[in-house]
């Protein structure tokens, strides 16, 4: 399982060398873009981590987790991951901040940390993605798009609980 990352990196490099890409120069270009992305998401990350930290400090997050506990148990999800699951389709930066908070509090290799990581990767920001593309298509009646996308999100989240042993 630990081989995926080195193999993927080898693929990048191998394809580059084979196609005679100037690998160093292109790496630098990409790295610059990556740093710009980190810089660009920072304000939203600040806003959302403030909100999440406040939400957990006042006790409302615990109350929400407690409320969701029966549903979590049913789906074999650690209750700490349910707030992330709910935020995932709504906002990319809010769910990233929530994932960060879960990894920080419970540890990235705890079951909650692993399930949260898988959950984060299993779906996109449904409302944002659909919103952008529907607007681009100039379509008003989106028909079954949102319900089906939310069903996919639900399936991915529940799968996260089943796929991480524990």
């Amino acid at each position: 399982m630990g081989l995926i990352l080195p193999l993927f990196l080898l693929l990048c490099l191998g394809a580059g060398v084979l196609r005679r890409v100037p690998v160093y120069d292109v790496f630098l270009e990409g790295a610059k873009e990556g740093l710009r992305t980190a810089w660009r998401i920072l304000p939203a990350l600040v806003a959302m981590l403030c909100a999440i930290r406040a939400f957990s400090a006042c006790g409302l997050l615990d109350a929400l987790c407690g409320l969701l506990a029966p549903a979590a148990a049913l789906a074999r999800l650690p209750r700490e991951t349910l707030p992330l699951m709910l935020l995932r389709p709504i906002s990319g930066s809010a769910s990233l901040a929530m994932l960060k908070s879960i990894l920080h509090t419970y540890g990235p290799d705890s079951r909650a940390g692993l399930v949260a990581s898988v959950m984060m990767g299993s779906s996109e920001t449904v409302f944002y993605t659909c919103g952008v593309y529907l607007a681009a298509a100039g379509v008003k009646k989106s028909r079954h798009t949102i319900p089906c996308a939310l069903l996919a999100w639900l399936a991915g989240s529940i799968a996260a609980g089943w796929l991480v042993a524990g």
Binding site: C12, I52, S122, Y133, V139, R143, T145, A152, A155
Partner: protein, 189 residues
């Protein structure tokens, strides 16, 4: 949506905190959150730059086009005859870029694909619905942002979630596609 989420969470937390006598803790937690966000962004920046650099090589080597060619028969069957012929190429490029985790390259192609699929109708075609559902269920092969964040938080094996994440995203995409196909039969709206 984000205005309500941010305003609601901050406002509720402050009100509830003041009522239960934890107002001060809530305020200092906000400051901690801000500080933590900056630390996290800096900790992740290195991994971000690294992954973007490596995938830039993959992109320059023509991987998006190569992958697109392989996906072509599957997608033209999946999206059916409703797909305008000029929309197939941006669809293929968008999904290939998404698979490789090149979000910045994927979005403009997705917008172009959606524009061509929208046509003059204000009602989404079956093909457009399916394309949107596939896009919003995430099809990334390697969740590099999550790996970067896990590394920043000191995980002993940041990439250990790669396989379960791939399985989960495959399941979510499959469920989305099946749901779309079922709904097509009962044409809604």
């Amino acid at each position: 949506m984000l205005q309500a989420l941010f305003g609601g969470m901050m406002g509720l937390s402050l009100l509830y905190g003041l009522i239960v006598g934890r107002g001060e803790q809530v305020a200092s937690a906000m400051l901690e959150g801000a500080e933590e966000a900056v630390r996290a962004a800096f900790a992740m920046a290195g991994a971000f730059a690294f992954f973007c650099g490596m995938t830039a090589i993959l992109r320059r080597a023509g991987a998006i086009q190569a992958l697109g060619k392989r996906l072509s028969p599957l997608l033209s069957r999946l999206l059916g005859p409703e797909l305008p012929s000029d929309a197939l190429e941006p669809v293929l490029l968008n999904l290939s870029a998404n698979l490789l985790g090149l979000g910045n390259a994927a979005t403009p192609m997705g917008v172009e694909a959606a524009r061509r699929m929208g046509g003059n109708s204000d009602r989404a075609s079956n093909a457009l619905c399916l394309f949107l559902v596939i896009n919003s269920s995430s099809v990334q092969l390697l969740p590099t942002t999550v790996i970067a964040l896990r590394a920043a938080e000191g995980s002993v094996s940041p990439a250990s979630i790669a396989l379960p994440a791939l399985a989960a995203t495959a399941i979510s995409t499959l469920v989305g596609v099946l749901a779309c196909k079922l709904m097509e039969a009962r044409s809604w709206g």
